[in-house]
């Protein structure tokens, strides 16, 4: 006992009961910032806080949030995947081109719509599978592998669509965002359901706990009997599928499938996760945090539009906002983000 009292590292001994409650609050650390942004929006524009506007923010968030979900899972295991942004474009494009007729720039196979959707998901899984193989099995560096994959996928999409935007006969692929339930698009419901399912899984299921252990200390996880390689690999596959789903939601939100769909989005994906408290080192972070990160970034984006910022300046301002948000969350969270 006396030993403990004198060890500087164990000084938290004094107040044990607070810990458990306090930890929950930290996951919601971004909520005050979110409220501030909403209030500012409300002051600038009468319509910012209307139901329609909020639905707009949520619809726009749905696509991003599914990719962030996938990325967060990969980050938790201590790896990362840059290629998710082009999976988000390539997978729906591939599915769409298998379905739509040649006249609408399809391959001419004209498979049924549901098979096209399935193809989208399989394409996402396949990309993740290859990434996982290269990173987990061949032990290549995740940064350069997924950067190369990003370029390959983007190039493939541009090549096969000849750089054209697909917009004709895409009903099956936009349904996710155009069908609504209780006033909200299905994509929002789907994103919410996925976050709930994965969030609970991370907290209540052994595989979820394994992700944290693997990211925290791979060797210790292995020594504890966790099949580290199999799970890390699987996470890449799941992330690929989630990115493909995010791509579908995005296509629906925009109403067309551009050759550059998802281009540059990976910055927002990483920013949302990191601002939300997911560690780039692995083993730390929650989906509640990541989700609040997405909502905050998306709300800020909408605020910029409402504030009538000249569109040619949006990108620069957006980048600065992400930097500022990272700095703020570094000090609000109190932990290094390395």
């Amino acid at each position: 006992m006396t030993e403990l009292m004198t060890d500087p590292k164990t000084s938290s001994f004094a107040a044990p009961p607070k810990r458990r409650k306090f930890r929950w609050l930290r996951e919601l650390a971004l909520v005050p910032a979110l409220i501030v942004v909403l209030i500012i929006g409300g002051l600038i524009s009468d319509t910012f806080l209307t139901f329609g506007s909020i639905v707009g923010i949520l619809s726009a968030s749905a696509a991003l949030s599914m990719v962030v979900l996938g990325e967060s899972l990969v980050l938790l295991t201590g790896k990362f995947d840059l290629s998710l942004e082009s999976t988000m474009g390539m997978a729906p494009a591939l599915g769409a081109m298998l379905v739509i007729p040649v006249a609408s720039s399809g391959f001419g196979t004209e498979i049924p719509g549901f098979a096209g959707i399935l193809a989208v998901l399989v394409a996402g899984a396949a990309v993740g599978f290859v990434n996982g193989f290269l990173i987990v099995k061949l032990k290549l560096n995740a940064f350069i592998v997924t950067l190369a994959m990003l370029t390959v996928l983007r190039g493939t999409q541009i090549g096969s669509t000849q750089g054209k935007t697909l917009f004709d006969q895409l009903d099956v692929f936009t349904a996710l965002a155009t069908t609504t339930f209780i006033g909200l698009p299905m994509s929002v419901w789907l994103a919410a359901a996925l976050f709930a399912a994965f969030g609970l899984g991370l907290r209540y299921h052994r595989i979820g706990r394994s992700l944290y252990a693997i990211g925290g200390n791979r060797e210790a996880a292995r020594a504890a009997g966790i099949r580290v390689d199999r799970i890390s690999w699987g996470v890449f596959v799941v992330a690929g599928v989630l990115a493909a789903l995010g791509g579908l939601a995005y296509t629906g939100y925009v109403g067309a499938l551009g050759a550059d769909q998802g281009d540059g989005l990976i910055l927002q994906v990483f920013a949302a996760a990191v601002i939300g408290g997911v560690s780039l080192d692995g083993g730390k972070g929650t989906l509640v945090g990541a989700l609040t990160g997405v909502l905050l970034l998306q709300t800020v984006t909408n605020l910029l539009q409402v504030a009538q910022v000249p569109p040619e300046w949006l990108k620069a301002i957006y980048g600065v906002i992400i930097l500022v948000a990272l700095i703020i969350s570094r000090y609000a969270g109190g932990k290094a983000q390395t």
Binding site: M1, T2, E3, L4, M5, T6, D7, P8, K9, T10, S11, S12, F13, A14, P16, P17, R19, R20, R23, R203, Y204, H205, R206, I207, R209, S210, Y212, A213, G216, N217, E219, A220, A221, R222, A223, A224, G225, I226, R227, G283, K284
Partner: protein, 507 residues
């Protein structure tokens, strides 16, 4: 080189008087005094958390003392901002490497002063200086070797030489022997004596008391942040020293296996290892029965760790079989080993034992996540409950089961690892260096747990460098160069066992 005053009555190399340090409400060090005389090796001992690290950080200019003052050679210590002045007075060689592994020894020695007073780096001159420096202290290391390729032993010498090159003649060695085998320890001690003769003074930190007797002239004991005693080593006995560290009477109390009743002749066989060969060992065969403890002893290079790691599946064997309860175990498959009923305390708790940032609850349940609930559910409440139970069962001192294990002392961290190894109620427990780097008190507690589970009928395989750990064993197998060369029944004498481990005749 600073001229050293002759005679023991000379000005002390370092003198700390009434040093104290608080971290918030916690007293890390209270009114501690330490005087080290020139040319001696002064041991600093105490249990984990006794204040050794805090004292070292004050003596090496990493943190500022709240009370009292520190003098080097009669001159007040420089302010913390003048790190160059500190480097000329004192240096610490830590357990973990403080070299840049990719750079050569020569560049490491002169890091950030490669070019001397010049503008460009003269590589020839740098290497020549490095060689001269190492030669002058008789360190036989090639200056062109990347520092990361050095053995622990050579790396320590390089760090010592670097410290000396700044002019420091007072060196703190923080558990220098922890990662060395006994030959390397002997070489280290020989080199220390040689440097002592050349006017270097050491503050030597170790958990191994016999090393204190071997190489030190004076010893200071800290306990609970306070100074307990300082005396010439020749005047304090081993038991007295342990008492001073623990604050209790009587030395380390570990039940020797020879004092308990002999094992049932018809006890079931739990583990059968036959002709097991792999990286660093070959043809190892042994049996462990219910309620039996088998020890594996040997030098670090003997292959004893690898044998135990192969049994648990951390390594794949090249040939041979491992059977638990007669059923062959799939080689190199840890989940299969756990299912078959093996629990393991791995070799290094930081490297493969714990996820330091995560809570006790997460760590204590890591290997039993699949049996916490239906369909793989492992709810936080269930994990928390298991951990609270473990805190109680294994007497782990922690504020709460939600506390990160990085907050705990080494002894308590190791108890968490042991708790996890036992969480699945295994038939066989494989313990690799189970008491490495923990204090005397925790060591007793850990070994008491091992004795308890043995009495419950578990089979135990214990691999250790420490004789105290091996005393629980019914039999100790000694490995040398990857093969079992001797077997000692309980009741062995330290001398005989050590002679076998080192491969020397006792004459």
């Amino acid at each position: 080189m600073s001229a050293l005053p002759a005679g023991s009555a000379a000005v002390p190399v370092v003198s700390a008087q009434g040093v104290g340090k608080r971290y918030g409400p916690t007293v890390a060090l209270s009114d501690v005094s330490l005087t080290v005389h020139p040319g001696e090796s002064h041991a600093l001992v105490g249990r984990n958390g006794a204040g050794k690290s805090t004292l070292v950080s004050i003596l090496t200019g990493l943190s500022k003392t709240d009370t009292g003052h520190v003098e080097f050679g009669g001159v007040p210590a420089p302010p913390l901002s003048k790190q160059d002045d500190w480097k000329r007075a004192v240096a610490c060689v830590y357990q973990h490497a403080m070299v840049v592994p990719q750079l050569t020894v020569a560049e490491n020695l002169f890091l950030n002063r490669q070019s001397g007073r010049g503008f460009a780096i003269g590589w020839q001159r740098l290497r020549r200086q490095a060689r001269e420096l190492l030669d002058s202290w008789d360190v036989g290391v090639d200056v062109d070797t990347p520092a990361g390729e050095l053995s622990v032993e050579d790396r320590q010498f390089v760090e010592i030489a670097r410290a000396l090159s700044y002019g420091a003649r007072f060196i703190v060695l923080d558990e220098p022997t922890a990662q060395l085998d006994s030959q390397a320890i002997d070489r280290l001690f020989a080199r220390m004596r040689q440097m002592q003769a050349n006017g270097v003074t050491f503050l030597f930190i170790s958990h191994h008391l016999h090393e204190v007797y071997e190489v030190c002239q004076a010893v200071t004991v800290l306990r609970d942040a306070k100074h307990i005693l300082t005396a010439p080593v020749a005047e304090v006995g081993r038991a007295e020293l342990i008492d001073a560290m623990t604050g209790e009477q009587g030395g380390l109390s570990v039940r020797d296996a020879s004092t308990r009743e002999a094992l049932d002749a018809d006890a079931d066989e739990v583990l059968a290892v036959d002709g097991l060969s792999g990286d660093g060992f070959s043809g190892v065969t042994f049996r462990i029965h219910r309620g039996e403890v088998i020890g594996l002893a040997g030098s670090n290079a003997s292959g004893k760790h690898q044998v135990a790691e192969t049994v648990y599946g951390l390594r794949s064997p090249s040939s041979g079989t491992v059977r638990v309860d007669g059923k062959p175990l799939k080689p190199g498959d840890i989940p299969a080993a756990i299912r078959a009923g093996i629990g393991c305390v791995p070799r290094d708790r930081h490297h493969e034992g714990l996820v330091l940032e995560h809570s006790i609850a997460d760590n204590a349940t890591l290997s039993i996540l699949d049996r916490m609930g239906k369909g793989g559910l492992a709810a936080p409440a269930a994990r928390y409950g298991r951990a609270v139970q473990a805190l109680r069962d294994y007497d782990i001192v922690a504020a709460d089961a939600d506390q990160p294990v990085s907050d705990l002392s080494g002894g308590n961290q190791q108890k968490v690892v042991l708790a996890r190894a036992l969480a699945g109620d295994p038939r066989l427990v494989v313990l690799i260096n189970p008491t490495a780097g923990v204090d005397v008190k925790s060591k007793e507690a850990l070994l008491a747990v091992v004795d308890r589970v043995r009495a419950e009928g578990k089979a135990v395989l214990i691999v250790s460098d420490e004789l105290d750990d091996l005393r629980l064993s019914d039999r100790v197998l000694v490995l040398r160069a990857g093969a079992v060369v001797a077997e000692h029944r309980a009741g062995w004498s330290d001398g005989d066992l050590v002679a076998d481990i080192e491969g020397v005749e006792r004459g």
